[in-house]
Amino acid sequence: MTVRVRLPEPLRAFADGERDIAVEGASTVRAVFARLAETHPGVRHRVLTETGDVRPHVNVYVGDENIRYLKGLDSPVRDGDTVFVLPAVSGGQ
């Protein structure tokens, strides 16, 4: 099972410049980021805090759905899904 993680431009520096990262064998968003931490720890740390929560001004979507309105990091992912990481409109300076 493969899930694609699409990164915003500021995080691509932590993924060798790639926009999309393929993640294998994860069935939840939490597992996606756990796998991602093994290969791209810089991405994981900028999406999640030390305590494992999604940072307040980052949004994570599975397809078109924000995981805050699903089951959070326990939201399921399926083969072929795209997990989008996006800066929230609430952040920025």
């Binding site: 500021p10 740390h45 900028r46 805090t49 305590t51 800066p87 929230a88 920025g92 300076q93």
Partner: protein, 379 residues
């Protein structure tokens, strides 16, 4: 926006580092400090609450806290005066998992005592102290302070629950003071293993018990290197001096328009001199009477004089934050401050007169200085 070039500096130049809500700027001048050149912004879009210069052991390293509003806070470094900055893949300052805490901001970066040329300290939010003994490669939480029984009762001030001030002892690397809003002043005499609250005599206006052991909202403390047991303190209401290493404090709010304010700065060469920038009140955090003035004592707080030559004395609704006032190490001393409206002012004569160096910067969070090649550390 195009990437900013590094600041071009020469031996003996004064460098003023300015942190803002949208990045950092660098300024340089020769020792006369008449004409300033600017570079930046660096770390664009990142609030920069802490800056430091480490010139020890031949380094020319700038440290900056970059509080990325989306992706978290990291400590970043530049060895070429801003042209390039490190971008650590994993956060260099992070709470251990078992603390169940997440880093919100880095408020202070301070070099260790002269006897520890590779030591650095960071004060962070939520309030904690981190130390590095290898010039900033690896950092660890100072457990002695983190495990202090008072910590659970510290409460956030208006800026959050932050450890914003670190004052190493100039002679003894095992002694240090730190300040937390709101927790108060703590001191260690054994290299951080244990800490004692050091707030005797400091008022907590916002509590039913006005003189608690801890819980004061201390805004800034500073000490003079030649007289390390003397400290000055700007409180959330209150000005104080200690002559016994912080064991007790004496009220020195003598003749100031307000004893509310944020910065406290000792003069680099004169142990009886200190500078403050009073604000009208906690409810109206602007200069009293809308006059932009620095106040100086030359007698350790027995009296204070306004310094206003060259500063606007009408309709100046300005605020200077706790790290917005700094001095360089030259004689006479350069004194610098930056306002929340983005103005940077400088004095090349101990504060006797002032010039506007920069206008229209983003809101200024911190101002730090260094004399390149003559001193190893920023002030």
């Amino acid at each position: 926006m195009a990437k900013a070039k590094g600041l071009s500096v020469r031996e003996g130049d004064v460098m003023v580092m300015v942190g803002t809500m949208k990045g950092a700027f660098l300024f340089r001048a020769d020792a006369k400090r008449r004409r300033w050149e600017r570079s930046g912004p660096y770390l664009q879009g990142n609030p920069v609450y802490a800056l430091a210069y480490d010139g020890r052991r031949g380094r020319h390293r700038l440290w900056a806290s970059a509080n990325n509003p989306f992706f978290g806070t990291t400590l970043r470094a530049s060895d070429d005066f801003g042209a390039q900055w490190t971008q650590p893949k994993e956060p260099n300052i992070a709470f251990p998992k078992k603390t169940k805490l997440s880093l919100l901001n880095i408020w202070q970066v301070v070099l260790g005592n002269a006897a520890e040329p590779d030591t650095l300290y960071c004060g962070v939010e939520p309030a904690a102290l981190f130390v590095s003994h290898d010039a900033g490669e690896k950092w660890e939480l100072v457990k002695g302070l983190h495990d202090h029984p008072h910590r659970a009762k510290w409460e956030p001030g208006g800026g959050g629950l932050c450890l914003h001030t670190i004052v190493p002892h100039p002679k003894d690397p095992k002694r240090m003071h730190i300040a937390v809003s709101t927790g108060g002043v703590y001191r260690t005499t054994n290299g951080g293993k244990t800490w004692a609250a050091s707030n005797k005599g400091v008022r907590a206006e916002f509590r039913p018990d006005k003189y608690p052991v801890f819980g004061q909202c201390v805004h800034k403390i500073d000490r003079h290197p030649s007289k390390p047991d003397r400290l000055f303190l700007q409180n959330h209401w209150g000005l104080y001096r200690s002559d016994n290493g912080g064991r007790s404090w004496t009220d020195i709010a003598n003749g100031v328009p307000s004893d509310f304010g944020f910065p406290m700065l000792t003069h680099p060469h004169r142990a009886n001199w200190a500078y403050i920038m009073p604000l009208e009140s906690d409810g109206f955090r602007c200069m009293p009477s809308a006059k932009l003035r620095v106040f100086r004592t030359k007698n350790a707080g027995k009296s204070w004089e306004p310094l206003a030559r060259g500063l606007p004395q009408k309709d100046a609704y300005e605020t200077v934050l706790r790290d917005g006032l700094a001095a360089d190490a030259l004689r006479p001393a350069g004194i610098y401050f930056g306002t929340r409206s983005g103005r940077l002012y400088a004095s090349a004569n101990d504060g006797a007169s002032w010039k506007l160096v920069a206008d229209s910067l983003p809101p200024i969070t911190c101002v730090k200085t260094a004399v390149i090649g003559r001193e190893a550390r920023s002030a």
